[in-house]
């Protein structure tokens, strides 16, 4: 596979948590490649290591062992770890994150929340178009509202807009619909799908919801920290 078409390349990723004397093998020898523009969903029972895995893939965490390349460049390999500030730089250039909780800043308006990343990463501001993203997500009429005035589905859209404003290459979504009802859940699924199809965004989605997982082009099932082979 040519390096310029792979978004992520993980080899033998392992993550061990130590809780006192106890060791928890949360991610167990996971190797996987995600192509640019691919939409991959991760499913599996609670505690199977989905969150741990995509946090490592998203440079929010270091693995205990294994290696990771992003866009063909080695982020870490055996015994080479990144400093917090190196991780930060990759995070802001490559990734956008959304989570189950929306973590909007209550004192800022919708628009201010969306452009908040520019407060810390000025460079991205020049060729960004926050209004277009807001229009795309159907929340362009609510720019001056406070988060508390929005519905859950709208809040998650604001969080998505905030994750996209840096023009990331990869969007990581960890249970983004965990707090939403079925209808909103479907809507968010459609939003992610069209971002992937129309904008060519690489999407990694963790979900409990099999219906939502189907939106993705590829589904990876985790069990006890390992990728389960399709039956």
């Amino acid at each position: 596979m040519a390096p310029d078409t792979s978004a992520l390349e993980a080899l033998h990723l392992t993550k061990i948590y130590k809780r006192g004397a106890e060791e928890i093998l949360a991610v167990d020898d996971v190797s996987l490649t995600v192509r640019k523009g691919e939409f991959v969903s991760f499913v599996g029972p609670s505690g199977s290591g989905k969150t741990t895995l995509i946090n490592i893939l998203g440079c929010l965490d270091n693995a205990t062992s294994g290696s990771l390349k992003i866009g063909g460049e080695t982020v870490f390999a055996e015994n080479k770890y990144l400093s917090e500030s190196d991780l930060t730089k990759i995070r802001r250039q490559v990734f956008g994150y959304i989570f189950q909780k929306f973590y909007l800043v209550p004192t800022l308006t919708v628009y201010e929340n969306v452009i908040l990343p520019f407060a810390f990463f000025k460079k991205a501001e020049a060729n960004a178009d926050p209004m277009e993203i807001l229009r795309f997500l159907g929340i362009d009429k609510r720019t001056s509202h406070r988060p508390s005035e929005l519905s859950g589905g709208e809040m998650q859209r604001v969080a998505i807009a905030r994750a996209l404003v840096n023009k990331p290459e990869i969007l990581l979504a960890d249970e983004p619909t965990g707090n939403l009802d079925t209808k909103r859940c479907e809507e968010i699924g459609q939003v992610l799908r069209s971002l992937n199809e129309k904008e060519g965004l690489t999407v990694l989605l963790v979900t409990h919801n099999p219906a939502l997982a189907k939106v993705a082009g590829r589904t990876i099932t985790l069990r006890d920290g390992k990728i389960a082979q399709p039956a």
Partner: protein
Amino acid sequence: MAKKINIYQVAYKNLLRKKTRTALTILGIGLSAWVLISLLGFNRGYESALNKDIDNMGFQVLVTAKGCPYEAATLMLKGGTGLRYMKESILADILKHKEVERLTPQLMAAIFDPNKGESGRINAYLGVDPVTFPAMKSYLKFKQGGWFTDPTALEAVVGYEAAELEQREVGDKMLIPEKNIEFKVVGILARSGTADDGTIFMPLKTVQKIFDKEGLITAAGIKVNKDANMNELENKLYDLPDVQVVSMAQVKNTIMSLVSTAKVMVFSIALIAILIAMLGVINTILMSVLERYQEIGIIKSMGAMPWDVFRMIWTETVILCLLGGVIGIGIAFALSKITDILIRRLLPYAPTGSLISIDSQLGLITLGVVLGIGLLSGIYPAWRAARVRPLESIRSEGD
């Protein structure tokens, strides 16, 4: 909408989240800024007020008989006894010295009046020379009337407070107890804030006669030539038999050392106020950091560097402190009169002029101190926030 956002805006808006908490913290800072600037102003104002007062006494050196109390307050403490006398002829000896510009003789007399107050009171009379005394004390202003009509008249000029205490007006008669002598009030002085306020002045000759002290005085006030050497004059005066020389510089030193005790106390209060305000700021900011733990984590996942987060929290602290500082300094300017009164109560001796001299320079210094407090107390909370790892905060949602 081409709106932009920066760290400082975010910091400012964070403070609006818990308005009451923010307001209380600002108030705390404001109070300590107020205390601080008032004290700095006091530190500066007191000495200059004292100097002015001493200049106002009209004389810089007082010569008295050895062991004689030299001001009314001490006399009162001694129950009106202990007066010592010098011969009037000493005046000529004093005048011989070239350092002496002017000289005024005084005779203090005290008498117990059993009919005053609950258990009687001592009345003090000060015999002064009708020519040289008013000339030396040219700053004395009359509220009513004027000086004596004749060097031997049975007349008195009454200090502001003495007149108020006795409820006297010009033209009233007053009685000297025991002596059964009546005198007439011819003048009432305006308030000067000095010992003169409580004094009853009579012509020197009159007091000498009433109290059988002809040819005697208790003190001589000397106004010294501008460029005279005070030490030299003091030494020369000590050559006179049985005198003590009190220079106002000495008096000032005594007062300043008394005041310095009060100053230490007052500065301790200021220090405590500052410490309390600092703890308040640290507490407020730390609480708001802990409350926003997850939010800060997300901000870091957006690409904020530790230093960005540090600056954001630091800015919040500095905004709090500067706002409080401005308010406190504003209050200090507005209430300097009241502060003056409060401080007067704490002091063993307070000069007449305004004790507190606050100006824009002191305002800036205070603002600088408050800013320093802000920067200092912001360090720990900001460091805590800067250290937040995005992962921890997301984890703490506990899914």
